[in-house]
């Protein structure tokens, strides 16, 4: 069973449906026992970093997600959920993340040329970094996934497993051991996205 962490952020209908579509049982939950007993954890998220980080802490989910991640359970953060896994965000101020993966979150506008539109919305190609990660075992380099974001992860050291090009190289996915993060939305990325979710659902087997 996959636990989709419910901390009052975002619409989880598509995420749950996409997991069901690939034959995975998924529960949207904030129940500690359900989360501890799940095989894998997904941390979703849309909206503003500060608000989401606060809700994650106030709901007790920050502590719990850290606990299960440190225990070695496969965890994947999606979009803002990925950014929350990092150490810090500079989205309108300076905010602490969970610090499970090295890196920080900064505006795309800092690196993309001035005529590039912000947010970065649409289908963009993945370029793998380093050895091809098992998360991508069912897809190939150049496959497109769906992005919607105005801030991106930087200084992730060798934890970056894929980037995408938008006038500059933007971090598309990170991994540190059992902890994964996707800046794009696999649940909105058609067949390629389903293959990424499927690979995640086989992690730790």
């Amino acid at each position: 069973m996959i636990a989709i962490i419910d901390y009052g952020v975002g619409n989880l209908f598509s995420l749950q449906s996409s997991l069901k579509y690939i034959g995975q049982e998924a529960a949207v939950t904030a129940d500690p026992e359900t989360i501890r007993s799940a095989d894998r954890i997904i941390l979703p998220g849309v909206g503003a970093y500060e608000d989401a980080a606060r809700k994650l802490r106030e709901s007790g989910m920050a502590e719990l997600v850290t606990e299960v991640a440190k225990a070695g359970k496969p965890l994947m953060g999606i979009c803002l959920g990925m950014q929350l896994l990092l150490e810090k965000s500079y989205e309108y101020g300076e905010h602490e993340g969970l610090g499970l993966v090295k890196g920080s979150v900064v505006p795309i506008a800092d690196v993309a040329p001035a005529d590039y539109k912000i947010p970065h919305i649409g289908w963009n190609a993945l370029k793998f970094k380093g050895e091809k990660d098992p998360l991508f075992k069912y897809i190939k380099e150049g496959d497109c996934v769906y992005f919607v974001h105005s801030f991106y992860a930087t200084d992730c050291a060798d934890n970056t497993i894929a980037v995408t090009e938008y006038g500059a190289e933007l971090t598309a996915a990170v991994a540190d051991g059992n902890v994964y993060g996707c800046q794009f939305h696999p649940e909105k990325s058609g067949g390629v996205g389903m293959k990424i979710l499927k690979a995640f659902c086989e992690m730790g087997e």
């Binding site: 619409n11 209908f13 598509s14 449906s17 996409s18 069901k20 579509y21 849309v46 909206g47 005529d115 539109k117 912000i118 947010p119 970065h120 919305i121 649409g122 289908w123 963009n124 190609a125 497109c144 769906y146 919607v148 090009e165 938008y166 649940e187 909105k188 990325s189 058609g190 067949g191 996205g193 389903m194």
Partner: protein, 253 residues
């Protein structure tokens, strides 16, 4: 490099697609769910569901269809038609829509854009504008292109984007239905005026019209059409191949 999006638009009335015809291998051509799956499998980058029902019963059917589609199709879904309150936003987002397109509702109540953007994020709010050239000035029309509001179109679009609209759909009344190509001069004006994604709508009659659109306006993000896809005049897979061949970044399945 980010790819140029191709977006089929499905007009839905009482839970059925209004214009939908003759696809080989497609069971029920009037089923929005079947058509959505068909388009997704042939390379559509996004789908627009446009609710043209007026009755509350029809609206209920629409949300059921939307829920079913969102459970089977995993690409971005935009919903438009009859959106005028935050409750309307809430209703369709809960059913699995990713973005909500507002047109006449924003003309009647411009505050809706800022309110929705604050609540759901800019990326969720799409402003759709029906525009025609009247005595040399681009004007905004309401009620499905019937009434000239007298508003200057570029000013209106700039205002909506400043208020938080994250995307703009430009429907040219002058080219719509004529099938002689998109309204390039109008779209150029809009692209110059705003720095959010702009989606061209109205006028596509063949593959070359899309090639011309993306070649003549490198800043345009997407092309939207309805009948040429529904009537099978243009297959999205062929269109994507032609785009790649012309050097336009496209996502091929």
């Amino acid at each position: 490099m980010i790819t140029k999006r191709i977006i089929p638009c499905l007009d839905v009335k009482d839970g059925r697609v209004v214009k939908g015809i003759n696809f080989k291998g497609l069971g029920d051509v009037a089923s929005p769910v079947d058509l959505a799956e068909f388009y997704t499998s042939t390379g559509a980058d996004e789908l627009v569901f446009y609710d043209i029902t007026a009755s509350s019963e029809g609206r209920k059917l629409f949300t059921e269809i939307l829920t079913e589609t969102a459970g089977r199709v995993f690409i971005p879904l935009t919903v438009g038609g009859g959106i005028s309150t935050l409750e309307d936003f809430d209703r369709v987002l809960k059913c699995g829509a990713d973005k909500v397109s507002v047109n006449s509702g924003a003309i009647r109540n411009p505050e809706i854009i800022g309110q929705a953007a604050k609540l759901y994020g800019d990326q969720c709010v799409v402003i759709s504008v029906d525009i025609a050239l009247v005595d040399g000035v681009y004007r905004v029309f309401s009620r499905g292109g019937r009434d000239n509001t007298g508003m200057e179109a570029i000013d209106w679009i700039k205002r909506c984007v400043a208020d938080g609209a994250g995307e703009v759909v430009v429907n040219s009344i002058d080219t719509d239905g004529v099938k002689q190509g998109f309204d390039i001069p109008l779209l150029k004006e809009v692209c110059k005026a705003v720095n959010v994604p702009v989606i061209a709508s109205g006028g596509a009659g063949c593959i070359q019209d899309f090639i011309d659109l993306f070649t003549e306006i490198p800043d345009i993000d997407a092309g939207l059409a309805a009948s040429i896809f529904h009537f099978g005049e243009v297959a999205i897979s062929d269109l994507k191949k032609a785009m790649t061949k012309a050097g336009i970044p496209a996502r091929e399945i």
